[in-house]
């Protein structure tokens, strides 16, 4: 087990350095002089140019710049945003709860619908429900989610007027950040209607972001269940005379969950990519919108730092899933 853990950690280290190298290279491979690009159309004085050149260390050899950058990264120093002048690290972690809250709700939505749907489809294999469900799942899987978001806005915000179009909560409510999760904070604030408003704001983005995971989970659960339902121990359980719900719900589902859990763990990257589109459309103040805005504002330290933090986060989650999977399934450990 220790050997397995070490080998996984050993592949983590070079990947980490590769990721830092890419995010380091980002500003330096931009066509043209990054400082002039930052200055924009107004231009800048010669002294200001020199000062910035020195501040970013562009006048020194690349390898020296990289080592300094890496040193900064390891100490949690990712530079400052051009626009807000705040450290990138602080900005990231002040916006991160919004993305996390949205992602968790999207995942809950996907699981609550996807797991039972996959199980029912597997049990009724080949019947109408199964076919209808799998067709729907394929549609969901092929969905351009930015368009899906616009459709939901047309129906639920435009025609029905049930949900607001943007933000996390109605502007009439003010309360302190306690956890950074709007659902919890609004409930804690005790203000009438605050929690309801937070839910209304959250529901459409969560559905949009959860759609592709929902389709993937339903398909994956179905195929995992089908595989498990063919096993001998299921036949034994049935032969013992256990009620079908118990066989399916307990014996089969528990074993079918292993691949499903892996899929869930590995969909963090998908969620973050989806968050870019979802947050942009719903003006959700999270990491995805922050990255897109920064790319358009040419706020390069933010893009650079955000890219690195997101990649490292994805890597850590993948590593954790990998290790957990090794714990559950000894066959993987040996390989």
């Amino acid at each position: 087990m220790l050997k397995f853990l070490l080998s996984r950690l050993l592949t983590f280290v070079p990947t980490f350095f590769g990721v830092t190298l890419i995010s380091f290279a980002f500003i330096r491979v931009l066509p043209g002089d990054p400082i002039l690009v930052m200055a924009g159309e107004r231009g800048m004085t010669e002294e200001r140019y020199q000062a910035l050149q020195e501040q970013f260390g562009f006048d020194r050899p690349l390898i020296e710049q990289y080592i300094e950058y890496l040193g900064g990264v390891l100490q949690g120093n990712l530079g400052e945003s051009f626009v807000t002048k705040r450290p990138v690290w602080d900005e990231f972690f002040s916006l991160f709860p919004a993305t996390l809250e949205l992602s968790i709700c999207a995942m809950v939505f996907a699981l609550v619908l996807g797991l039972p749907a996959g199980v029912i489809a597997a049990v009724n294999r080949g019947k109408l429900f199964d076919r209808a469900l799998m067709s729907t799942a394929l549609v969901g899987y092929s969905m351009p989610i930015f368009w899906w978001a616009l459709l939901l806005i047309i129906v639920f915000s435009g025609n029905l007027g049930w949900t607001p179009v943007s933000g996390r909560i109605s502007l009439q409510y003010f309360f302190d950040d306690v956890t950074g999760f709007m659902l919890i904070d609004s409930a804690l604030s005790g203000q009438k209607g605050a929690f309801g408003s937070a839910v209304q704001h959250l529901i459409l983005p969560a559905i949009v972001l959860g759609t592709i995971p929902l389709a993937v989970i339903a398909r994956q659960t179905r195929s995992a269940m089908l595989e498990v339902l063919g096993e001998d121990y299921i036949r034994t359980a049935r032969a013992k005379g256990l009620p079908p719900q118990r066989v399916v719900g307990l014996h089969a589902l528990r074993n079918a969950m292993i691949p499903v859990v892996t899929v869930i763990g590995l969909s963090v990257g998908t969620l973050l990519a989806g968050a870019i589109l979802t947050e942009t459309i719903f003006s959700w103040p999270g990491i995805g919108k922050w990255m897109v805005d920064s790319i358009f504002r040419r706020d390069y330290p933010v893009v650079q730092g955000g890219l690195l933090l997101i990649a490292v986060m994805v890597m850590i989650v993948n590593l954790t899933v990998d290790v957990l999977y090794g714990f559950i399934n000894p066959k993987i450990r040996k390989a």
């Binding site: 990721v19 351009p144 930015f146 368009w147 899906w148 973050l272 990519a273 990255m291 790319i295 893009v303």
Partner: protein, 302 residues
């Protein structure tokens, strides 16, 4: 068919069906896949003949008809069957022309990503361990970034345009081909036919491309179909974010992004481009499922 007139050919054909025929036999079993194939062929037809079918120039602006609804709704006319957009361009013509861009994106991305990925994957599979490790770690690095984010940043570096969006998407998709090819190569290498080719004195390039590669193709073809649809989706997403094709190009994602402000006033400017993306992507994914059933013997009949 030429074989049907030749009795000898017919008898051998009956003994052992051709690969293509066998493939078609399994592919036909999957009704969804055949359905997808028909839609894909229609899409292909539209992509090729768009300038001939389209009733109007996709960039021509008709000033008398801003945001005219589709023909079946009050105020619509047969002159613009699917209505017009905010500057009076014919939606139908723009959608038909949009098929060209999406098809072009799919083809170019798949060719670049698969071409590069297969070559690097073969190289990794055949190379000594240290080089193999370096290549695979490099792919891990690319895969650590969410694909859309990396594509977005790459386009920001290269400058927003459809061509740069295609390059960025190809770079992001390429590691999947590398992994897939390498894994197949690894499972083929210990087999007897490879050893005998090696003993017979086959050169390394011959061993890689002629002996081993054809036996690794099945999963790669399936992956190609799936990344064709991913490429169309991602290019549309980049266009939607303003980082892909630039207006007034009638690319579906770009059309959606231009139409965003009008969603509550004119549903058709938003609905149709997205529907076009969905139908195309869905058709390709259906086909991809059929391809997998037909090509991958392990999953056959499961």
């Amino acid at each position: 068919m030429a074989t049907a007139t030749d009795p000898d050919a017919l008898s051998t054909e009956a003994e052992r069906p051709g690969r293509l025929r066998e493939f078609w036999y399994y592919f036909r079993e999957n009704r969804g896949a055949v359905f997808g194939l028909w839609i894909f062929l229609a899409f292909l037809f539209v992509a090729i003949f768009a300038p001939l079918i389209a009733p109007h120039d996709p960039t021509a602006q008709y000033r008398q008809a801003f945001l005219q609804p589709p023909v079946w709704q009050e105020g619509g006319s047969w002159q613009f069957p699917l209505g017009t957009d905010m500057v009076g361009r014919d939606m139908l013509s723009r959608l038909l022309h949009g098929a060209r861009f999406s098809f072009f994106v799919g083809i170019v991305v798949v060719v670049i990503a698969a071409g590069g990925g297969i070559t690097v994957g073969l190289l990794a599979g055949f190379s000594p361990r240290w080089l193999d490790s370096i290549i695979m770690r490099l792919m891990d690095v690319i895969l650590a970034f969410p694909s859309l984010l990396l594509a977005l940043v790459l386009v920001a570096i290269l400058g927003p345009s459809l061509l740069n969006a295609m390059i960025a998407i190809a770079i992001v998709l390429q590691p999947h081909y590398v992994r897939l090819t390498r894994a197949s190569v690894m499972s083929e290498l210990p087999k007897d036919y490879v050893t005998s080719a090696r003993v017979a004195g086959a050169s390394l390039p011959r061993l890689m491309f002629v002996t081993v590669l054809p036996n690794c193709l099945a999963p790669i073809i399936v992956q190609a179909a799936l990344s064709f649809s991913t490429a169309i989706l991602d290019a549309a997403a980049l266009g939607f974010l303003g980082m892909g094709a630039q207006p007034p190009t009638p690319e579906w994602g770009t059309m959606l992004s231009e139409a965003r402000e009008f969603i509550l006033r004119a549903w058709w400017v938003v609905t149709f481009p997205g529907l076009a993306i969905l139908v195309t992507v869905l058709a390709i994914n259906l086909m991809g499922d059929g391809l997998r059933d037909a090509l991958d013997p392990k999953l056959k009949r499961s």
